[in-house]
Assembly symmetry: C2
Homo-oligomer: 331 residues x 2
């Protein structure tokens, strides 16, 4: 079996988990990492990950430094949420013919907010025979790919509604803070308006659904509210008092000729009861689907990234969407 040589850009918690999963795959060879943190540069990846199987390849301070020692075919990019910030990191990779699989939420459907940058990334990738994919669990699966997949057996689709509830108490500290835990509700909403808080990628999920179904939305709007703690909450990472913000409730609504075609509703908050992922396809047949366990956790995110690699390398070069790739699967 020819192995896929991979490197990891960004050695935060998600990057480390990506490497640990990659190390379990017989079809992957880990050739290095990239991170700007001087405390990490030069260290063997296995030591950073605390997992010997990750191997002795090391962390480099830049793409150039990595390329002096290794030639990855695919780089897993787990660093930022915005296309604007990802662009300067990813463009040089594509220009060298290296395919990129990124957890950058806006890269799920980059043409939504950054059509010029998306077109440029697509052109760079095509010119060098590389591919670029944005994916993850959300965006990347539960609120976009899974509902699209369900429409495959519908002969009519009038609307797609998705509802996700995540119990943030079971997640990492950074996520518990990102959703506004401990702020006043007004503070959360102010920061949400400025794009400094909230779940990134919700509108991108709606845009991907619309694209896959051939819908030209003429409006796509998003709102974000604080979920308010009904009692004091303490996790290993944050402390929230009754009345403070303990998470978020975001809603994206896509309309076509006035009719609501897509609603994506996500609540992510501390101590949320009954976490789940529900999809309703209004159509023929109409379908209601529910993942009663929910699909949360960094495990699902990194699985989505790593499993995309062999499928991505079969796709034609350029900017690739999750719905263009083969059916997701454990690989």
């Amino acid at each position: 079996m020819k192995k896929i040589k991979i490197a990891q850009f960004g050695l935060g918690p998600i990057g480390i988990e990506t490497l640990k999963l990659a190390a379990t795959k017989p079809w992957i060879e880990i050739v290095g990492g990239i991170d700007i943190d001087p405390a990490k540069v030069g260290k063997p990846l296995a030591r950073l990950a605390g997992e010997p199987r990750v191997g002795r390849a090391r962390v480099h301070r830049s793409l150039e430094a990595l390329l002096a020692t290794a030639q990855p075919e695919v780089i897993f990019h787990t660093a930022v949420s915005r296309v604007k910030l990802a662009y300067p990191q990813i463009e040089p990779m594509l220009q060298r013919g290296i395919s990129v699989i990124s957890s950058c939420e806006e890269l799920l459907y980059p043409a939504l907010r950054e059509p010029r940058l998306a077109a440029r990334l697509d052109a760079r990738a095509k010119a060098a025979g590389a591919r670029l994919l944005g994916t993850g669990v959300n965006p990347g699966f539960v609120m976009d790919v899974l509902p699209v997949c369900l429409t495959g057996v519908c002969r009519e689709v009038q609307a797609v509604h998705v509802q996700r509830v995540v119990n943030a108490s079971t997640r990492r500290g950074p996520l518990q803070r990102k959703i506004g835990s401990g702020w006043t509700p007004a503070e959360f909403e102010r920061r949400f308006q400025r794009g400094q808080a909230g779940h990134a990628g919700l509108k991108e999920s709606a845009a991907l659904i619309a694209h896959a179904l051939g819908w030209k939305l003429d409006a796509l709007e998003e709102t974000g509210k604080a979920m308010v703690a009904l009692a004091d909450i303490k996790t290993p990472h944050v402390t929230v008092q009754r009345g403070q913000c303990c998470g978020l409730h975001q809603l994206a609504v896509g309309r076509m000729r006035g009719a609501v075609k897509i609603t994506l509703d996500i609540k992510m908050y501390l101590d949320a009861p009954n976490p789940h992922d529900a999809v309703e396809i209004v159509g023929d047949p109409g379908l209601k689907n529910i993942v009663t366990t929910g699909v949360a956790g960094d495990g699902a995110t990194v699985a989505s990234l790593v499993h995309a690699a062999p499928r991505l390398l079969k796709a034609p070069p350029g900017l690739v969407l999750m719905t263009d790739l083969g059916v997701p699967s454990f690989a």
Copy 2:
């Protein structure tokens, strides 16, 4: 938009529904039909379908007769359940470079029962630049593609369990008879053993899951039992007395080194309460998914066939599996 020219092989109820759905797609042009029934040959498809949008193309008695008047790129083939019977119908299509999308259940994973014929179909298709796909709703979606899709976000998968309950009272007469309605339970089980009754394609669904997950099963066994009517049942198509067979309960179990890796459990019977489709992925994260509405009906079958066309034409020539294609979607 370049239209895909399609023809329909087999003008029974599923073939007619396929044409009616195809007629709603702006990217399809219907160029003809094929059926051996002398009562249908020569008739315009629109008249047979009772739907003007299906158009004035006609039914021909053979592929040769159709090709004298039209050049389809794709033929929808809805005629038989067994690869052995489909082979002589499909081979000449592939040899002429025409791609085929078939509801033949065993074609979901033809190498399981007919490895020689599967290899030959693959070779024929490759030689002529054609593609062959077996799909539908089951097999083709609920008990194979959907569970595979869910594993995409799992970093470990130990086992896949699927449970499907279909209320056969809501289905067509031929299906109500195929599941043994009105027979004695012993009669159903005798006929099931001989391959003359039951749900076709269950082992193929298990084989497709195993293939997608890279599992080499060392045993794949199937059992079939009658569901026994607890009261008299009357549908527009069949009458069943208490104690008679009113449907089936089939179970396919796949094992690897003694461990159960896949169970596919289907109950399809008259007046079944609570029809649904449930998937459990034992893994990390473990997932439980349920389509609470179920996904039944010929609508779902024909949607799966028609929607596969544009994705199939993007695949490399040869025998193609549903899990090789892009994510299913309404198209």
